[in-house]
């Protein structure tokens, strides 16, 4: 772990990615301590105000501090990305692992065809349909993204398991009379972990994009809870008077996603045995 971290830091882009992600996590965790104002408290004396000593990035249509809302918005985005990806991996990895380990008709005709069918639905479209079922909220968005992303992890875990199960050490473990579950957990899972970790970081970046798109459409985080996507949507109503309202949240989404992608890319370079 330490070695991986050190090798990532040696790459300028990897270091930049780690820096952005660390900053993001710190901001999200310590939002109540960092934010200069209450993100939901309106100030009717300063509606759509420009940057000032009190409100560094200005205020929105209700006079709420944009900087504080951005800081709290990091929470929603990070939470959505993290939980969606953990859910996707939590569903996908066990299914893919077991399916790839035992193979057979159940693997080929049921699991593979089901993932084929699931992957035919564009993420946002399926998430929209699920929002209609479960009602719009951050949790709906997270669950929807998590379920939609699970076939990716089923596929990846299965493909990796297929190659590991043929190795000599797995064969040896089997010859020694180890139970299947033990072999899967002790010998297969640790050896397929790297590509899964890389995929998790890639998926987390797109999950944050999808969550902010859903919130932008009004189907994710509900007001007055601050989120980058919904801030951006409200900003579009004030493009003539206060264009910066929609600039900042978009920039925040971009930097967060870029940071995670840079980290994922460096992780791939470091963890991929071919490099």
């Amino acid at each position: 772990m330490n070695r991986v971290l050190r090798r990532m830091l040696r790459r300028p882009l990897g270091a930049l990615g780690l820096l952005i992600v660390t900053a993001l996590v710190v901001v999200a965790v310590f939002a109540p301590q960092i934010a200069p104002h209450d993100p939901t408290r309106p100030d009717f004396t300063a509606i759509l105000a420009g940057p000032s000593d009190v409100y560094w990035l200005g205020t929105d249509e209700l006079g709420r501090d944009i900087l504080s809302r951005l800081i709290w918005g990091a929470r929603a985005s990070l939470q959505a990305g993290l939980i969606a990806v953990l859910l996707a991996a939590g569903i996908g990895v066990p299914i893919g692992l077991v399916s790839g380990y035992f193979r057979g008709p159940l693997d080929e005709y049921v699991v593979m065809r089901l993932t084929d069918a699931m992957m035919a639905f564009p993420v946002i479209v399926l998430a929209l349909a699920m929002t209609a079922v479960l009602g719009p909220s951050l949790y709906t968005a997270m669950i929807a993204i998590g379920i939609v992303y699970s076939p990716i992890f089923i596929r990846l875990a299965r493909a990796q398991t297929l190659s590991i199960r043929e190795t000599e050490y797995v064969e040896a473990a089997r010859a020694l009379g180890n139970r299947h579950l033990g072999i899967m957990l002790k010998h297969v899972l640790p050896n397929i972990a790297s590509p899964l970790v890389i995929q998790m970081s890639v998926s987390m970046a797109t999950a944050i994009l999808v969550e902010s798109a859903l919130s932008f459409l009004g189907l994710g985080v509900q007001p007055p809870t601050p989120s980058w996507g919904s801030m951006l949507r409200i900003g579009t109503n004030y493009m003539n008077d206060a264009p910066m309202i929609s600039f900042w949240p978009g920039l925040a989404i971009f930097i967060a996603v870029l940071g995670i992608n840079l980290m994922g890319d460096a992780l791939r370079d470091v963890l991929d045995p071919r490099n």
Binding site: V125, A129, T236, S246, L258
Partner: protein, 314 residues
């Protein structure tokens, strides 16, 4: 060739079947009573029963599925639960809009991504490497709806060069039609551009190290000829594969872009159907999205086969 296409097509039937079951079941768990949604809160029990009878809602679930499937197969997608207009008409009117915008987006993605990837692959060194990675990841990380809003501000509100919303059909006025779809297509095309660039770069870097490229160089073939004839051609196959994946992503992103630019495409249709809980419209659209992706996958396999005849079976 014909045998290959047929085999791929037959292989898709179980997937299509699963998709229809999935779409049907998702719509079944929707809260609310469709009959009450059509008639409103003041409906009498008799009229509710009549509507349920007409829609077949009092039949067992598997019978409802089979009759729905039968209708879909004959092209009857039902009527909107909100305004009772045929769903197929709404879809046919939205189809050219979405095809034009997503098609243009893919073209923009290719026009930016492929040359950028070639340049990145042929400019070696750690600095070139880093710059290429950074630009590629930037394109992938930019939220399309933010880019759309920034462009709207600069090119419509500020400079007044491009129309801010609405759509003109290609058959009515090709030039205006192009102008109306330009910003949506750029907003949609940035992500594919980044992905194509990374893909072309990584596959070309591999190829340029190969023996046959060294041979081509050694026999005195000019630098650009080596790049085009050997390098780029080999990266076409992964490019075709990723093209189909990216098309699926584009179809999803259309929802946000349609909303921003007020385009009367698929995205707006499905978004409105979700807001109004228009069951039949939603059901048909989700099905069509999935069918489109499946069709693109089949097309990809065929192109794949033409590009590389070694792939007989996969």
């Amino acid at each position: 060739m014909a045998g290959f296409v047929l085999r791929r097509f037959l292989g898709m039937i179980p997937i299509l079947f699963l998709i229809t079951i999935g779409v049907f079941l998702v719509m079944q768990v929707l809260p609310g009573d469709p009959a009450r949604m059509i008639l409103g809160q003041e409906a009498t029990p008799e009229s509710l029963a009549a509507v349920r009878e007409r829609l077949g809602l009092n039949q067992p679930l598997h019978m409802q599925y089979l009759s729905w499937l039968g209708n879909v197969m004959t092209g009857d997608l039902g009527r909107s639960m909100v305004d009772n207009s045929p769903v197929s008409r709404a879809i046919l009117s939205a189809l050219p809009v979405t095809l034009q915008v997503t098609g243009l987006a893919l073209v923009i993605g290719l026009l930016i991504g492929v040359p950028a990837g070639v340049i990145a692959a042929t400019s070696p060194g750690r600095l070139g490497d880093g710059v290429a990675t950074f630009i590629g990841l930037t394109c992938i990380s930019l939220p399309g709806f933010w880019v759309a809003i920034l462009m709207l501000y600069v090119f419509s509100l500020w400079l007044g060069w491009l129309p801010s919303s609405g759509f003109v059909r290609f058959t009515d006025d090709p030039w205006q039609s192009f102008l109306h779809s330009l910003m949506p297509a750029i907003a949609l095309g940035l992500r594919p551009a980044g992905i194509f660039m990374r893909l072309v770069r990584s596959s070309m870097v591999e190829v340029m190290k190969s023996d046959y490229v060294r041979t081509a160089r050694a026999k005195g073939l000019a630098g650009h000829a080596v790049i085009l004839r050997h390098g780029l051609r080999t990266s076409l196959i992964p490019l075709v594969t990723i093209l189909s994946v990216e098309f699926a992503a584009l179809l999803g992103n259309v929802v946000v872009i349609d909303t921003i630019f007020g385009l009367p495409g698929f995205g707006r249709l499905i978004f409105n159907s979700v807001l109004r809980l228009d069951l039949t419209m939603m059901q048909s659209l989700v099905l069509i999205f999935a069918l489109a992706v499946i069709a693109i996958n089949l097309l990809t396999d065929i192109v794949y086969f033409i590009l590389d005849p070694r792939i007989k079976e996969r």
